[in-house]
């Protein structure tokens, strides 16, 4: 008997309602398309709320030397030049307008003394560039988009998880989803679909990501025949909480360092001063005094080494811990007291406690309530946590369309803009700029179609029946246990520091886990059943984990977020100009190839040279 399902039809279906999905939905809807927005959780709860530091955009409100070219050059340097330069260009050019638009829609940013949007320093950004609201910028962004979006007639379908994209021949035709509340099936029929499902953080044990981030969009696209790109680049944010155990991995914003926080090892050394990469030396402070002057906005000063890129800071922390100079619970110390003392000497009226509560309110709360620690008085313990996926669905730089006609992707589940490492603050701007583009081009694509593609019953039936199998099994494999074992294995074998033999073992381990996943039994019924939901997400986690391992093995060098213990140096000759591309082969097996980057136009090369002391990096020669 075929499964029963209800159908909703729209011109454009957006899957995922974080910042990227909401921005895409708003744009598509504004251009007249009928839009359905499908979200895995309740509206407004997506991981965008966890973004703390700010939105990177060269508004030049705080430092008038900033402009899109500097932002572009910073983004490319941070990504170690394997970014899609066109996306990085569009992003840098369009981000300021996207930020201003938020204000028009009701966002209330922190202000400069002359009443403009305030901008703060962040890792890898040459000038103070992040528009922000204390340390809860993501919440401001998602709430602004949500409140604007619901008044625009977007149809929101909450707590629905898409498990399969449906195709009519080559083109996209719809998506099959279940609702959490009752476990019923829905087919979303559409002329165009935008994936905006976020990351893959749940593939790792220590992560800042919630249960939702299981690589859904990555896997949906891959299974439907799209390509994945840059999957080896998983960003480990240098500062997650490490203690107590129940909060391990929860993010500690880079804003702490942007506001003067310093990292120290157990010996009290400020170890970041001891390891500054050659290409960042000219932009990095020579001593504490200069770094703090930078924090205060001194234009003559360079940034403190704590604000080097995330990949580098994370690795330095791992090194300190491995070499026995870590904090009691396996991290390092991050403290605000040195800056407060230094500044207090200059300003006797400076009230450190009030200052930090105002600048970092949610960090203050988070540590006070979850860690029992007052960050205005005591040092935090921090260590790397899985945070962001640079890799994702390969899309056209201008339209965000994948190689499947009608299938678009944006935000974290798409890839290209960040290259080997994303700069903090570039995610919120990416999801605004490229989210808008995805929505715009998806609506335009939908307009050109006379009708939606046909829904083929066999696709719906097959996917739904596979999803229901765990209820009928008499085995006893637990979905939670398989997920936990997967997370431990990825953390140990395909984590921050990687080796060929370990990753080969991981690939074999993934095969075993897949076999175990096929034996999972689910108890209870289909109504709001977390065991069943976890079981269904496993296919996605296994798929993206395999892609990460495969791509990381292929790139036999260290670049950005990928650090290979067996190839600790960059190899520009072999890997400086290539991306790894993953796609499903004819027999269903995962295939990988390397592809040359498109040559960069001279104007963009000039922008990079201007910021690099007139020298072009080897990757671009």
């Amino acid at each position: 008997m075929p499964v029963e399902y209800q159908t909703h039809e729209h011109d454009v279906i957006v899957i995922g309602a974080g910042g990227a999905g909401l921005r895409a939905a708003i744009e598509a809807s504004a251009s007249g398309a009928s839009v359905g927005l499908v979200c895995k959780s309740l509206l407004g709860k997506a991981h965008t709320v966890m973004a703390e530091g700010g939105i990177a955009a060269a508004l030049a409100n705080v430092d008038n030397r900033d402009n899109w070219k500097v932002h572009f050059a910073d983004t490319m340097r941070g990504g170690q030049y394997v970014n899609n330069w066109r996306m990085a260009e569009l992003h840098a050019r369009e981000a300021p307008d996207r930020v201003r638009e938020l204000e028009k829609w009701g966002a209330v940013f922190d202000r400069t003394p002359d009443g403009k949007i305030l901008q703060r320093n962040f890792g890898g950004h040459k000038y103070p560039r992040l528009a922000h609201v204390g340390d809860r910028t993501g919440l401001e962004l998602i709430r602004t988009l949500q409140d604007h979006g619901v008044h625009q007639g977007i149809n929101v379908y909450m707590e629905r998880t898409v498990i399969r994209l449906l195709k009519d021949g080559d083109r996209i035709a719809g998506a099959l989803a279940y609702d959490r509340e009752r476990g019923r099936w829905t087919v979303f029929r559409a002329k165009a679909i935008v994936l905006a499902t976020g990351g893959i953080g749940k593939a790792y044990k220590i992560t800042s990501n919630s249960w939702e981030y299981t690589g859904d969009g990555h896997t949906l696209a891959y299974d439907a025949g799209a390509e994945l790109i840059d999957m080896e680049f998983v960003q480990f944010h240098p500062t997650g909480m490490v203690w107590p155990p129940s909060v391990r991995g929860i993010l500690v914003t880079e804003g702490v360092r942007g506001e003067g926080g310093v990292l120290r090892n157990s010996k009290g050394d400020r170890f970041m001063f001891g390891d500054i990469p050659e290409n960042y030396k000219p932009q990095t402070a020579k001593d504490q005094e200069e770094g703090f002057r930078y924090v205060l906005g001194d234009k003559e000063a360079n940034r403190p080494p704590e604000l080097l890129t995330r990949d580098h800071v994370a690795r330095c922390i791992v090194r300190e811990v491995r070499e026995g100079r870590g904090s009691p619970h396996g991290g390092v110390f991050l403290e605000l007291q040195t800056f407060a003392e230094w500044f207090g000497k200059k300003n006797p009226k400076f009230n450190a406690a009030e200052h930090w509560k105002k600048k970092l309110p949610s960090m203050y709360h988070q540590f006070k309530e979850l860690g029992g620690l007052d960050i205005t008085k005591e040092a935090m313990e921090v260590g790397p946590t899985t945070h962001y996926m640079m890799g994702g669905v390969r899309v056209d730089s201008d339209s965000q369309m994948s190689r499947i006609p009608g299938l678009f992707a944006c935000g974290e589940c798409a890839a290209g803009i960040n290259g080997a490492n994303r700069l903090g603050g570039n995610s919120l701007s990416d999801l605004l700029v490229l989210g808008k583009r995805a929505g715009e081009f998806a609506a335009e694509y939908a307009k050109k179609q006379n009708a939606s593609g046909a829904i083929h019953a066999d696709q719906v039936d097959g996917a739904a029946k596979t999803a229901l199998e765990p209820f009928d099994r008499a085995t006893s494999e637990s979905p939670f246990k398989v997920q936990e074992d997967l997370q431990e294995m990825m953390q140990d074998l395909v984590g921050i520091v990687r080796k060929e033999d370990e990753m080969v073992r991981a690939l074999a381990g993934l095969k075993e886990l897949r076999a175990r996943a096929a034996k999972i039994q689910v108890t209870g019924n289909r109504e709001y059943n977390p065991g069943w939901h976890t079981a269904m997400d496993l296919h996605n986690l296994l798929t993206v984990s395999e892609a990460v391992a495969l791509a990381a093995i292929q790139r036999k060098e260290s670049r950005g977020a990928q650090f290979r213990d067996d190839y600790p140096k960059k190899d520009n000759a072999k890997f400086g100009k290539v991306n790894s591309i993953i796609a499903k082969g004819a027999n269903g097996e995962m295939q990988i190839k390397l592809e040359q980057l498109a040559p960069m136009p001279q104007e963009l090369k000039d922008a990079i040279m201007a910021e690099g002391g007139g020298v072009l990096p080897d990757e671009l020669k």
Binding site: V49, K104, D147, S246, L370, S478
Partner: protein
């Protein structure tokens, strides 16, 4: 230390408390215990959660009778050795176990007039705003929409005035719109006529349970009540309005230099 958790299991038709034992480790929060129980004893135990850091407002529940976020309630802050009672929010229809149907809140928000800014102050489409003005609004915009204030409000919880009263969450929402210095919309008539601000008798329960520590009653609701009074009941204002025909906020906006 093994701790007993008495958790509500059931749906809209029937249900009961069930006891589970979880191992309480250092720094653990109630949500950790619920996850532990899910993974080892009750895989179909329903609960909502996302960020696990008090930023998304998904894991709202009642813990020992108090509306709280499960992710921000540490076990070592609860009475040691005693059973921890976890049940769903009471002001909304139950879906299953700890999950309630909060869709009413989303419907309410749709009915509130959206932000309508005055003409931009600058040619590039931006506005000037002082930090002091931003501060006032930003307090309200900290709201994570956990709906715990709605849950505790007796007008909703006990008197079920959902059709007539928007509740503290949305009074905070109206307050942030009304107090945004750029906004030109007038929401005061609806507040009085349709959104039931008069129902609030300022017991301040909402302020007490707010995990974001928003001073809901004093900073949002009372000033809104004052605006309603000014517009509808103030004899001096009435006289002024009689003599000078009131101008719409829109017209005022138009006369501002752009």
């Amino acid at each position: 230390m093994p701790t007993t958790f008495r958790i509500w299991r059931g749906d809209a038709t029937k249900g009961e408390f069930k006891d589970y034992t979880a191992e309480a480790g250092e720094g653990m929060v109630v949500l950790d215990a619920v996850h532990q129980i899910q993974a080892t004893q009750a895989p179909d135990l329903a609960c909502r959660w996302n960020c696990k850091a008090g930023k998304c407002g998904s894991c709202s529940a009642e813990i020992n009778g108090m509306p709280k976020l499960m992710c921000m309630t540490r076990l070592d802050d609860l009475p040691p050795g005693e059973t921890v009672i976890v049940e769903p929010m009471q002001a909304f229809p139950l879906v299953k176990d700890l999950v309630t149907d909060v869709s009413w809140n989303y419907e309410v928000k749709k009915r509130i007039k959206p932000f309508r800014p005055r003409k931009p102050d600058n040619a590039d489409g931006t506005w000037k705003m002082a930090q002091e003005d931003a501060d006032r609004v930003q307090e309200f915009r900290k709201c994570i929409e956990c709906f715990l204030c709605q849950d505790v409000c007796h007008v909703l919880r006990d008197h079920h005035k959902h059709p007539e009263f928007i509740g503290p969450r949305f009074l905070v929402h109206v307050a942030q719109l009304e107090m945004n210095p750029l906004d030109t919309e007038d929401r005061i008539p609806e507040l009085k006529e349709k959104q039931g601000i008069g129902y609030c008798n300022i017991t301040k329960c909402c302020t007490k349970v707010c995990p974001e520590h928003i001073t809901i009653t004093d900073n949002a609701i009372i000033p809104l009540k004052e605006r309603v009074v000014d517009q509808y009941y103030d004899p001096v204002m009435k006289l002024i309005q009689l003599v000078f025909k009131p101008r719409k906020k829109d017209e005022l906006a138009e006369t501002k230099p752009s």
